[in-house]
């Protein structure tokens, strides 16, 4: 059996003279475990534990679901709905809705835009810490 050429992804990492970090390699540095002396957990650490850096949600088929279009989240009942302008094009799961709600109290919001994947359109949400 012949095998097609597979391009192996090489990810560089380490240090540099210019501050041009890889945006995909983003992590909240958590407070050292043994060093927290009972003053409660820092906001950054709570965010790192609770608020996913990004997530995506499959969208319903809609003429509004176009690549790169920004989307917003609005809560209706228990769920956050995904909107383009005023039209609903998707919905977060219960777990995702709870996370967005909790994270909002920690000063975190999620910015969303539509991306195209081979199996359809998705809304990708990225954590913004205020």
């Amino acid at each position: 059996m012949n095998c097609p050429i597979v391009i192996t992804k090489i990810c560089f990492m380490g240090s540099k003279t210019k501050p041009d970090r890889n945006k995909k390699d983003s992590v909240i540095i958590r407070e050292p475990i043994a060093q927290n002396t009972g003053g409660g957990r820092a906001r950054q650490d709570q965010i790192a534990d609770i608020c996913e850096i990004s997530f995506h949600v499959k969208l319903k088929e809609s003429p509004l679901a176009k690549k790169d279009v920004p989307v917003t989240l609005k809560k209706f009942g228990h769920y956050y709905h995904i909107l383009v302008m005023a039209s609903v094009i998707g919905r977060l799961s219960t777990k995702q809705s709870e996370m967005v709600e909790t994270c909002a109290r920690l000063g975190v919001r999620y910015a969303g835009k539509i991306i195209k994947e081979p199996n359809g359109m998705y809304a990708r949400f990225t954590r913004i810490i205020q």
Binding site: M1, N2, C3, P4, I5, V6, I7, T8, I10, C11, F12, M13, G14, S15, K16, T17, K18, P19, D20, R21, N22, K24, D25, S26, V27, I28, I29, R30, E31, P32, I33, A34, Q35, N36, A42, Q44, I47, A48, E52, I53, S54, F55, H56, R124, F125, T126, I129, Q130
Partner: protein
């Protein structure tokens, strides 16, 4: 004591680096703050801990302050200038190469490696691979574990090192030596963050040694202040014979010159000192004329190329479908031998 002018300046420019006031002397020179290009205000604590992070004291306590006052007490030595780095998929091929010393990296010893989820690297859980396979290799080769990788990986494993019993796991695997963690140091960022990461790396070497492992300290300098501090550290620790520097991201002339400047400046301090440059380009080896007998290059290129059914020999072109599924194994071994030979040729040619 900070004078009123500095306090006034702080109020006017709240994102100024606190290092400029001299409060971190002698570890951070006020002049280093002049090179800051990215605001020290990093409220989320993303990737680095800056002078403005309210948790900074916790991080400083963890590493015992910013002084370069720790070093492993025993140093290992390597002879071979070339160190191939394998990954877990190709680990068994390491038996077939002539190299006495071979490398693995942190992600190769973890089961659930980093995954790209919704555009970002994520590490859900730290779980180690079965130690037996790695231990078996360590009985036949001197295996160096390079603690390099993405920040997400490095910082998560470091933070969870006690919970996941990192050092016990490494001991069970039987590594010949383990490098210090390569915490990221980027020019233009807060000098406190830079210095903290340099110190964390040295502390990680010390912890490795405390847990019965031979440690190879990792260093990285982005300016002359850093170089001087490392020089002084080496003068205080003349028993250190081997260091490592991750050069995988150094592709621009400026970055390469910085690597060379750093490596030469530290090699001058101790004529018995060697350095392993991880991922350094062969085409830039000539820059180390005068130090070539103390330079070692570790790289994963031949392994990665082999797995992609590519030869590292520029003259060899591979067509899609030319190779059978298992042919990558032979290619990996051929690629490694070719690179080892190439490096020897370059070293001989340059040193003539």
């Amino acid at each position: 004591m900070r004078d009123s002018q500095e306090l006034f300046s702080d109020q006017l420019f709240p994102d100024h680096c606190l290092g400029r006031s001299g409060i971190y002397l002698p570890h951070i020179e006020p002049a280093e703050a002049e090179d800051v290009l990215v605001s020290c205000m990093n409220p989320s604590g993303t990737n680095i801990v800056t002078c403005r992070d309210p948790r900074i004291d916790s991080f400083l306590r963890e590493v015992g302050g910013l002084a370069f006052d720790v070093a492993p007490s025993i140093s290992v030595l390597v002879q071979d200038p070339y160190i191939p780095i394998f990954d877990y998929r190709t680990i068994k091929l390491a038996y077939q190469v002539k190299s006495d010393v071979v490398g693995l990296t942190l992600s190769d010893i973890l089961i659930n490696r980093l995954k790209l989820v919704a555009g970002y690297y994520t590490l859900k859980k730290i779980s180690f691979r079965e130690a037996a396979i790695i231990r078996q290799l360590c009985l036949h080769k001197k295996v160096v574990l390079f603690l390099t990788g993405q920040d997400v990986l490095i910082e998560t494993v470091w933070h969870q090192r006690s919970v996941c019993e990192l050092f016990q796991q490494l001991s069970m695997m039987g590594f010949w030596a383990v490098t210090g963690f390569n915490f990221s140091v980027f020019g233009g960022e807060c000098p406190v963050a830079q210095r903290l990461n340099q110190k964390k790396s040295l502390v990680s070497s010390m912890l490795l040694e405390e847990n019965g492992l031979f440690a190879i300290p990792h260093i990285y300098a982005v300016n002359d202040f850093h170089i001087t501090q490392y020089q002084q550290w080496l003068k205080r620790n003349p028993h250190i014979r081997l260091l490592t520097m991750n050069c995988q991201m150094q592709r621009s002339t400026e970055d390469i010159e910085q690597v060379v400047r750093t490596a030469q400046a530290i090699l001058i301090i101790n004529e018995k000192l060697h350095i392993i440059l991880q991922g350094y380009r062969f085409s830039e080896v000539h820059r180390f004329d005068g130090f070539l007998d103390r330079i070692h290059i570790a790289e994963s290129k031949p392994v990665k190329y082999g797995q992609a059914f590519r030869s590292v020999e520029p003259a060899v072109t591979v067509k899609a479908g030319q190779y059978k599924k298992d042919a990558y194994k032979g290619l990996v071994v051929e690629n490694i031998e070719y690179r080892r030979h190439e490096l020897r040729k370059i070293l001989t040619r340059v040193s003539k």
